[in-house]
């Protein structure tokens, strides 16, 4: 059996994938958030350590896998697709060609993030907000009374098993909000206990842990 986790959100039937991607079967829509492409380049530019420069290809390899497995007709990147504007501009020719290849034959939407204003120099639609049926897609969750799918916070949840703690990137959901984990290879996480997330999510919120196996737990607070 394929290891995914399906649930209903605002009347839509959605599937969380172990990679941190979200699939909406009825619209054949694949959603990923916070790719942070070019992070190693940005860190080096700022005199930080010279990290293994392989995170762009690793993130694209994973994205390609999710696209092939779902056969998605429409891909939505929920913002912070690039670590910053300069990182988007410094994207290598081979990586650019790879992204174009992935974009071929399907609709593609770049939602703007706080790190990047979309994807300069790449095709696809660049918007702040995308609404499809009852769902609104944006980078950062708002106070508006609507069913939102967003990213930005890089949520991760820890669960105590006897004698050990497991911490993984996670999806968070309550009745109005669905927050995706960060998808990029070089991304850290924010614990669900952090005030930013604890205040945001309503009572009865749940966390779906990415990775293998996928499990759903009450959001740790």
């Amino acid at each position: 059996m394929r290891n995914v986790h399906s649930f209903s959100f605002a009347g839509a039937r959605l599937t969380a994938r172990p990679s941190g991607a979200l699939h909406w079967g009825d619209r054949n829509l694949l959603v990923v958030s916070d790719l942070h492409l070019g992070k190693s380049e940005r860190i080096a530019r700022r005199n930080g350590p010279l990290l293994p420069p392989y995170e762009v290809q690793d993130t694209l390899r994973q994205l390609q896998k999710d696209i092939l497995e779902t056969g998605a007709a429409h891909v939505v990147c929920l913002g912070d697709s690039f670590d910053d504007l300069a990182a988007a501009q410094a994207l290598g020719e081979d990586h650019r060609a790879w992204i174009l290849r992935l974009m071929t034959g399907r609709r593609w939407t770049w939602i703007t993030g706080n790190h990047d204003p979309g994807a300069p120099g790449l095709p696809g639609d660049t918007v702040d907000v995308l609404t499809l049926d009852a769902l609104t897609f944006c980078h950062i969750a708002t106070d508006l009374d609507r069913a939102e799918v967003s990213g930005h916070y890089h949520p991760k949840a820890a669960i105590q098993l006897r004698g050990r703690a497991i911490s993984r990137p996670c999806f968070l959901r309550d009745s109005r909000r669905l927050i995706l984990p960060a998808y990029g290879t070089y991304t850290g996480g924010l614990r669900t206990q952090d005030r930013a997330l604890a205040d945001l999510m309503g009572a009865g919120a749940r966390a779906i842990l990415a990775g293998q196996p996928m499990v759903e737990i009450p959001m740790p607070r």
Partner: protein, 800 residues
């Protein structure tokens, strides 16, 4: 020689005379390198400084002598002790220290107007060398004294220090080195470490003095089967404190020191003045205890390694060691603390914390009497330290690669370094050393003209300096009392802090405090003397026993040489012999029993922690392949304990003497042991930045884990230098194929497999061991699913 007069006067007015090794030091002061081996309390430090006092007696302009010790506390102590002869002989010598505790203003002044004698640590020296004015600071330097070099020579701190000395030697070509060492098995190893190669380093031996007086403390109450803190012995310890002038009470970990101190106070009906001292306490708290100690105001100090090594604390006449001394060498050196009169034997008492430790303590005493010290020294310098040193040198200015390579070859641990290995490190620092050349624009070092390298962007020096040092601390958070200007108490590990919720209590500096909140990077607490504390989990020292000691214990057990042991321990061992069996040299005892819903296997190899760790990897790999769901293991020098969801059955198929290396290759790669080794090496080499206050991002942009870098390198750049260093480090510190293969060949099929319904006497202490290695296999997924279902049911949530 006129210069000697003031010093000689100083000695004469006190009715003292120089020890033979002290006058020898004076006579041989012009040698380029000299190693003094002397017992603690033998006037070793003064011997090191005498040539300096003589040479500076008529005045010396600028820095003359650099004194380096592994501990900050030692620098404070030395300064106090030097001050007396200098002031009374009216010598024109200023003594100052420079450590992580030294203020910015004072450091600036020291750079402009250096004292004649500067006391420092290896980390602070590395920092000084990284400044562009290092050449000026050290130009007139005459002597370097490396104190407690036996303690440094075991570690990466020592490797870094020796690299720094090679740099100093270039800046001050006339520099002479002196090493001061406690008694060691093989002094020539340390001499090789200290020497400026290819020059030799002669060795000077002081009179070793009378043998130490060590025994095991007799208590009315028997120690527990598996305790760790020695709490049962408190009445007997208090009795000893009463009988002596000043007692030092050593623990192997900070957490144990805290708990012991707390309980000691609860039982201290006479209100004897007793203090606590360990490295996690705030500087203010440490200084207060040190001053009270020097002033003779304390009857006892509960301490850990921070007070270790040859500090002269005046009137100490008894050392109590709680918990078995894991290394005989450390035991003897710790005991050197007591009774610092050179010709009186030092007195020490051992307090085993559990019954197994009773056996360990007696074995250690046997070893001391036999004059057998332990500890192996490494002679192949680790390359992560070399990478850091190259970056450190670059901070001070452009350098010539050929010159730096020649300099590094003069360092003992790096004297066999090949040019190719050096170039790999240089390339790593300059470009990251990746197969994919991605950083042409952002190289850290640039080759300006052929062979001359320097920082591409001088601003990078700041980051490099902040990451200098080879001690890997887990991230720490400061603890202070809540409220404006609350007093700082010390530090706890971030991992421990993250398990606290409001209202939880823990011990800090001997007080019970209540966790209130976290503000930025500070944990706020309030005093709560009325509650039972939770235990603070400091990592502190990681002690391992020596293989020598492990084997001595195996023989003791097998030959049932129990005469020296107290009755309760004999009974305990006889019970082990009755319910299971006692381990026998040449055979392998394996016990299997259920406990707490898990199936456990204990293998008693007596082959050292590294071999046991490797053995556990081998067995858990087989278990995972056979669907037995291993969950984790923990090892010490005597045995390894493995647990999982299913019983193992026959152990023999898992213990194959051949092909261990090949069998473990892939399993090892994904294991937590390797990931830890990678993280440590990556921090030292500068691939991962240390977290430091002010820089650490809070919230969303939290740093991602080093495991991600490790996995990424394995996937895309499997030959990268960092992975090669990780492997070298694992073989050095965690994994030992050779010893495991030897064990299995020796044992053959002579395996005693015992199945039991419960934990055995001998296995009980294994459950206290630190450093559990988790297995990320199928079992983890099963547990996760079960726990998730339970949580959802408890919360009244359904899966839809």
């Amino acid at each position: 020689m006129s210069a000697r007069t003031p010093i000689t006067n100083f000695f004469q007015t006190r009715g003292w005379s120089l020890h033979p090794h002290q006058s020898d030091m004076l006579e041989r002061k012009d040698l380029p390198a000299l190693l003094l081996i002397a017992p603690t309390g033998g006037g070793k430090t003064l011997a090191g400084f005498l040539p300096t006092l003589v040479e500076c007696a008529d005045g010396h302009d600028g820095l003359h002598t650099l004194y380096i010790s592994p501990l900050k506390a030692l620098a404070n102590d030395i300064r106090r002790n030097l001050q007396t002869p200098i002031e009374e002989s009216d010598l024109p010598i200023r003594v100052e220290d420079r450590t992580g505790d030294t203020s910015y203003a004072k450091r600036q002044r020291q750079r402009a107007d250096p004292p004649q004698i500067l006391l420092t640590t290896p980390e602070s020296l590395a920092l000084m060398i990284s400044y562009p004015d290092a050449a000026r600071t050290f130009a007139g330097l005459q002597r370097v004294i490396v104190d407690e070099i036996h303690a440094l020579a075991d570690s990466k701190r020592g490797d870094q220090l020796m690299l720094c000395l090679s740099r100093l030697q270039t800046l001050a070509p006339g520099l002479r080195r002196v090493g001061l060492s406690a008694t060691v098995d093989d002094p020539s190893v340390i001499a090789h470490y200290l020497a400026r190669h290819p020059d030799p380093c002669p060795i000077l031996h002081a009179d070793p003095g009378p043998p130490p007086d060590i025994s095991v403390l007799e208590t009315e109450e028997a120690p527990p089967w598996a305790g760790a803190g020695g709490r049962y012995a408190i009445p007997a310890v208090l009795e000893q404190v009463r009988k002596h002038n000043t007692t030092l009470i050593f623990h192997n970990t900070r957490a144990q020191a805290e708990i012991f101190f707390h309980n000691l106070w609860l039982a201290n009906e006479d209100a004897l003045p007793i203090g606590i001292h360990h490295g996690a306490l705030a500087k203010e708290a440490r200084l207060k205890v040190e001053q009270a100690m020097v002033a003779g105001q304390l009857k006892a100090i509960v301490a850990t390694g921070s007070l270790d090594l040859g500090i002269d604390w005046g009137d100490v006449d008894l050392v109590i060691q709680i918990g078995a001394p894991k290394k005989v060498k450390s035991l003897v050196q710790r005991i050197g603390r007591a009774n610092h009169r050179y010709n009186a034997p030092s007195k020490a008492l051992l307090v085993p914390a559990n019954r197994f430790e009773v056996v360990e303590c007696h074995a250690a005493l046997e070893a001391v009497r036999a004059g057998e010290l332990d500890g192996d020294l490494r002679l192949d310098g680790p390359r992560d330290v070399l990478c850091q040193h190259i970056a450190c040198v670059a901070c001070a200015g452009d350098f010539e690669a050929d010159g730096l390579y020649a300099e590094i070859k003069s360092v003992g641990p790096y004297s066999t370094l090949s040019r190719a290995a050096f170039d790999d490190c240089l390339d790593f620092v300059a470009t990251g050393g990746y197969a994919l050349r991605a950083y042409d624009r952002y190289q850290r070092l640039k080759e300006r003209t052929p062979g001359i390298w320097g920082l591409r962007d001088p601003r990078a020096a700041r980051q490099i300096r902040m990451n200098l040092g080879t001690i890997i601390d887990t991230d720490k958070l400061k603890v202070r009392f809540k409220g404006r200007g609350g007093a700082p108490l010390g530090e706890i590990e971030e991992g421990f802090a993250s398990t606290l919720s409001a209202g939880d209590t823990f011990l800090m500096g001997g007080q019970i405090v209540r966790y209130e909140s976290m503000r930025e990077l500070t944990v706020e607490v309030s005093p709560r003397p009325d509650k039972e504390p939770r235990i603070a989990t400091y990592v502190g020292y990681k002690w391992t026993t020596s293989v020598h000691l492990a084997q001595r214990i195996q023989h003791m057990l097998h030959e049932m040489r129990f005469d020296a042991l107290p009755g309760h321990t004999r009974e305990w061992l006889e019970l082990q012999a009755k319910v299971s069996t006692l381990p026998e040299p040449g055979r392998l005892l394996v016990e299997q029993f259920p406990r707490d819903g898990r199936h456990h296997v204990v293998v008693y190899g007596f082959a050292g922690i590294n071999a046991h760790q490797t053995l556990a990897l081998l067995i858990t790999k087989g278990m995972e392949e056979n669907g037995l769901d291993p969950l984790g293991f923990v090892s010490n020098d005597y045995a390894t304990l493995i647990w999982g969801l299913q019983p193992v059955g026959d152990i023999r198929p898992y213990l194959q003497a051949t092909g261990v290396r090949a069998a473990l290759d892939r399993w090892l790669q994904g294991n937590a042991v390797m990931k830890r080794a990678f993280r440590n090496a990556a921090v030292i080499a500068g691939l991962i930045e240390r977290n430091y206050p002010g820089k650490r991002s809070t919230g969303r942009q939290a740093a991602f884990s080093s495991d991600i870098l490790y996995d990424t390198l394995h996937r895309y750049d499997p030959d990268h230098l960092m992975l090669r260093i990780t492997e070298e480090e694992a073989m050095r510190g965690h994994i030992d194929f050779g010893r495991l293969e030897l064990l299995m060949q020796t044992v053959g099929d002579r395996i005693d497999q015992v199945k039991l319904s419960r934990v055995t006497p001998l296995a009980a202490p294994m459950f206290l061991e630190r450093g559990i290695v988790p297995i990320k296999g199928r079992a983890e997924g099963k547990l996760l699913q079960a726990e998730a279902e339970k949580l959802m049911a408890e919360a009244g949530l359904s899966l839809e």
